[in-house]
Symmetry: C2
Subunit: 143 residues, 2 copies
């Protein structure tokens, strides 16, 4: 459902949500170990997220990646779509191109309601909310 890249991206964004701010930028080399993702790989993903304004960055000395207040108000789905696009989440489970409510595939009635709920949940949940849950110890972001 998620690509590896999205998994990494989500971990990185949540890490930034917890540890960074406009005054405390985080360099790739500080971030890759705690979230257990190869440095060059996460660097590329962060660059892409930055280009799409999901996260913020500044170059040069004292630079790094960080989340602004605005950034952290974004919902999960924005991060997911930025990396994977929407096909992965939205497409028919059997990849039948004409599958819809009128001409449902054999799995449609099983899968579709749950998937819709999942998408709705991802659309509602913000980065900020998730990061607060981690800070409160409700959820965890380990290896």
């Amino acid at each position: 459902m998620f690509s590896n890249s999205v998994k990494y991206a989500l971990k990185a964004v949540l890490y930034l949500a917890i540890h960074s701010s406009e005054d405390k930028k985080i360099m790739v080399k500080e971030l890759n170990k705690p979230i257990n993702v190869p440095k060059a790989y996460i660097a590329k993903l962060l660059q892409e997220l930055s280009k799409q304004n999901i996260i913020s960055s500044t170059r040069g000395i004292k630079g790094g990646f960080y989340l602004t207040k605005e950034n952290s108000k974004q919902n999960l789905m924005n991060v997911i779509y930025a990396i994977d696009g929407d096909y992965r989440m939205k497409s028919c489970m059997l990849s039948l191109s004409h599958c819809n409510q009128n001409k449902p595939c054999p799995l449609h009635h099983i899968v579709s309601p749950m998937r819709d709920k999942l998408i709705e949940a991802f659309n509602k949940k913000t980065i900020k909310e998730l990061s607060l849950e981690i800070e409160k110890g409700i959820t965890f972001l380990p290896i």
Copy 2:
């Protein structure tokens, strides 16, 4: 969530459920076009399913693939696991190896209940039931 291979396998199994029987075996070359899957590819998958007793087959002239009554009583999950194994369905959405109810990942509370329901539904639903729905025109198996 599903590999391409599982998608193809499910389509093929459902096609066999509808069109085959012990008296009416279906050859690869008859089946690949209606379900829109490359011949050599689906052949390999059918061989694997046959080896795992998900479907039945006989070789030689008048041979082909088919489903016995027993075969069609199997549930969806058997087909899925036969091709993809269980990791894909069961693993943490962020691939965190220690994610569980006690140490849930940031997405666990969103994803886990729905995934469990999905797995339950796939475990309950048999090939036969799905194929009946297709035959009744409740669902469709087009391209």
